[in-house]
């Protein structure tokens, strides 16, 4: 057993040394997500002059006062079915006001300047008609697009590092004979795969922590949940992505084929996982497909921790899915793995 650990530690150390010495890759892994976030901050920093109102109502007709209010120039309204979801968005300043016609009430965020202006407009719209909506309020700091996008960008970086940094490297090692040389030692396939996983895992987690910390220091991202839970999610998510990479590389010989497979897997995952945009309005089959993507579970869980302060009890489904995919992929890769 001691020899087993010594062999595994030697492989982890050697691979880690290699990774750290691959300076270009290392810096790319750090700078790529950081530059994207910086670009988002500047691209989406301009004030939106529109006032966004969510309207929840079972009725087709709106009262005259509400109708007039929603017709006001620069007021953009949309009907919503899920009141709770709309209030959650109001908390994050994604809506400026939520009007609940059925309950004759309106909601504003006490921290929102736009909400304050809309409230004054609403009062004027009713004028002296005597009809009033009951005022309800909640609180929540303003959420920028970059706050929403950050979990996706970090998760995307984990995905690319796992698939390209582990899967593709193994294919290259198989092609140039490095794997065959390791196979000539007493090391088992499981040991080797475990070493690949561990050596990449610590680096991916370290890079994510460094990038998050540095950017948080500059941009003060929203963080309402537990840092420890976020770190645990990062470790689990990174492990899932590495395990996916190991499955892809279990038998692939050709770098061209390997890169094709990585692209085929990564791009649909990227598009279906709400990294850049919400799939709330997307067709049902797309939403169903999105549920299959491990990246989607990682992004949604990270967003829930960072933006909604969700705890483990609320996120157990995401954690269980990622854990299940990881276990399945590791078992598959150990079973299918070939040295040559």
């Amino acid at each position: 057993m001691r020899a087993w650990w010594r062999q595994s530690a030697a492989l982890v150390r050697a691979r880690s040394t290699e990774l750290v010495r691959e300076r270009t890759t290392l810096w790319w892994n750090i700078l790529f997500p950081a530059l994207m976030i910086v670009a988002f901050v500047y691209a989406f920093s301009s004030d939106n002059t529109r006032f966004r109102v969510a309207v929840h109502s079972e009725l087709d007709q709106l009262s005259g006062g509400v109708h007039a209010f929603l017709q006001t120039r620069f007021v953009q309204s949309r009907r919503v079915d899920d009141l709770d979801a709309a209030l959650q968005k109001l908390r994050r300043h994604e809506w400026d006001m939520v009007v609940n016609i059925d309950q004759a009430e309106f909601w504003v965020n006490e921290n929102s300047g736009n909400g304050y202006v809309l409230e004054r407009l609403l009062e004027q719209s009713f004028g002296s008609s005597g009809v009033r909506l009951e005022r309800r309020s909640l609180q929540g700091p303003r959420l920028r697009y970059v706050d929403w996008a950050l979990p996706g960008v970090l998760a995307m970086n984990l995905m690319f590092s796992g698939l390209w940094g582990v899967g593709f490297v193994l294919v290259r090692y198989r092609k140039n004979g490095v794997l065959k040389r390791i196979a000539a030692t007493p090391v088992s396939a499981f040991q080797f795969l475990l070493a690949q996983l561990l050596s990449r895992l610590w680096l991916m987690v370290a890079i994510t922590v460094v990038v998050y910390t540095a950017l948080h220091w500059v941009f003060e991202f929203a963080m309402r949940g537990s840092y420890l839970l976020l770190l645990a999610l990062c470790v689990l998510g990174a492990t899932t992505m590495i395990a996916l990479g190991l499955v892809l590389a279990a038998r692939t010989h050709s770098e061209e084929f390997g890169s094709g497979v990585v692209n085929v897997l990564s791009w649909p995952m990227l598009l279906l996982s709400e990294v850049w945009f919400s799939l709330a309005g997307a067709a049902a089959p797309l939403q169903w497909l999105s549920q299959l993507s491990p990246l989607a579970h990682l992004v949604r869980a990270a967003r829930a921790i960072m933006l909604d302060g969700a705890g483990l009890m609320q996120l157990w489904g995401h954690f269980a899915y990622l854990g299940g995919v990881t276990a399945l992929c590791l078992a598959l890769s150990a079973w299918r793995f070939r040295w040559t």
């Binding site: 062999q7 150390r13 040394t17 290699e18 004979g177 490095v178 000539a184 030692t185």
Partner: protein, 286 residues
């Protein structure tokens, strides 16, 4: 030390090895000869336990070959890349940690003349230096048996000689060595025993001297002339003005040359070497 009987291996329906018997003795180098595609690399990988034999059995120190047997095997493949970001010293240390027993790195560095290379990465090594590092990695676990698959292919004579010294040193240390090579001078210089493979079958096997004695009974007479007598042209192998005549009777051949007034200034007479024996053996079956 390592004994294999009636080995067989097939790639699909193609038999790559058929009924091969091999024995490796401590302190001896067995030369594995054969044309490209003869099955040399397959035989080596079957003996190393990397390919499962489809027929026959292999015993190493009296036990079947499994992953644990590789603890005591040193393997150098025909071509292997190495992790490019590690220095030679780190490669030696890493591979040493993959085995339960290991040789002294310092001794290995001295034996393989690696001291000036320790702080270099694989991409910074010449062909000969790279092969010395790969050979050192094959010896890093202080193996009982060493498999060397064409270790000197493509090296200059000086680099080849450097590797020869290390291989001879392995035998002197009591290791059994299986050396696959296309260089007949290398086989003659290093190998106490030879095994010639052709299309997966053993064509000749035995001590180098006895293989030569059995197959190299004739001599080769070489002369340089523009006008080789007509009577000798049919039995001579000619390269321009240089003619090589294989004969059982050197005196008669020389007298015939003299009788035809051939200038004997550049006359050379030698016993047939391993290269001629190898060519004859393999061409006869082709």
């Amino acid at each position: 030390m390592l004994e294999a009987k009636a080995l067989g291996y097939a790639y699909g329906r193609v038999d790559a090895l058929c009924g091969v018997d091999v024995t490796l003795h401590a302190g001896q180098c067995l030369g594995l000869l054969g044309r490209n595609g003869a099955g040399k690399t397959t035989l080596m990988e079957v003996l190393e336990g990397l390919l499962p034999c489809t027929r026959g059995e292999i015993r190493f120190h009296g036990a079947a070959v499994d992953a644990r047997a590789r603890e005591r095997m040193g393997i150098m493949f025909q071509y292997t890349a190495l992790p490019e970001q590690l220095y030679v010293r780190e490669l030696l240390q890493m591979f040493a940690r993959l085995y339960t027993r290991s040789a002294s790195i310092e001794a290995l560095v001295e034996q393989c003349e690696l001291a000036p290379l320790l702080a270099r990465r694989p991409s910074e090594l010449s062909g000969g230096q790279r092969q010395r590092v790969l050979l050192a990695l094959a010896l890093v676990n202080d193996p009982d048996v060493v498999f060397l698959d064409e270790p000197t292919a493509g090296l200059d004579p000086r680099a080849r000689r450097a590797l020869w010294r290390i291989i001879q040193g392995c035998c002197e240390q009591g290791r059994a060595v299986l050396l696959s090579t296309h260089y007949m001078d290398e086989a003659e210089a290093l190998c106490q025993r030879l095994l010639v493979l052709h299309e997966g079958r053993v064509m000749a096997q035995g001590e180098t001297a006895s293989v030569l004695a059995q197959h190299a009974t004739q001599s080769v007479v070489s002369v340089q002339t523009r006008d080789l007598p007509e009577a000798l042209q049919s039995i001579a192998h000619s390269e321009g003005d240089q003619h090589h005549i294989v004969t059982d009777d050197v005196s008669a051949c020389v007298q015939q040359l003299l009788a035809h007034g051939v200038d004997l200034q550049a006359l050379q007479v030698r016993r047939k070497g391993l290269e001629e024996v190898f060519l004859e053996l393999t061409e006869a079956l082709s």
